[in-house]
Symmetry: C2
Subunit: 110 residues, 2 copies
């Protein structure tokens, strides 16, 4: 399953989760290492707490983030392994492109 055709559903959800500026900002905040609460994440935004909550749910659904309830607050942590799937897909696509160019070059030179 190294060709880009195989298994399109999962990477699409991942890319879709990354395809929003607000969500990318959250990823940037969380990739700093700290596990942060919803209140902490929505404090320096013009968004409502519920808006941030929804985005976090989307990101959790895509595997980008993991939540852990501690006391009265729920902390969200970044999951860097989730990016491996995206990177693998990008590499598969550009690898297929590179191979295609290589085959074309060999064909022309023969």
């Amino acid at each position: 399953m190294s060709n880009p055709e195989g298994g399109i559903g999962e990477p699409a959800k991942l890319f879709a989760a990354l395809g929003d500026p607000t969500r990318l900002a959250l990823v940037a905040r969380l990739s700093a290492g700290e596990s942060l609460s919803i209140a902490a994440l929505s404090s320096d935004t013009r968004l409502t707490r519920q808006a941030v909550t929804k985005h976090l749910h989307v990101m959790q659904e895509a595997g980008l983030v993991a939540s852990e309830r501690v006391g009265r607050e729920s902390r969200y942590a970044f999951r860097p392994e989730a990016l491996d799937g995206a990177r693998a897909y990008l590499d598969a696509v550009s690898g297929q492109w590179r191979d295609a160019l290589h085959r074309l070059k060999r064909f022309v030179e023969e």
Copy 2:
């Protein structure tokens, strides 16, 4: 500008363009090397030609693809350079995560 905070708008558009199964399938088709017409791309799909056209416009807006009008048909070609931006963003994010873990480790060990 190597931190993930800088310039969030452009990669978000790129990821959003990749965040759709139909569009990912088109990328897979086009990454095979050949420059294909809209009719060719929509022939082996259950979608209408106009649906494929809209997806191609979105992908072109994100820089994923380039169009070239030849005769009565317009050919679309994959642009692998577009993926570099996405890969750079992923690397920046996971790099920031890795550095944060490293700093934490050093702090704990001191």
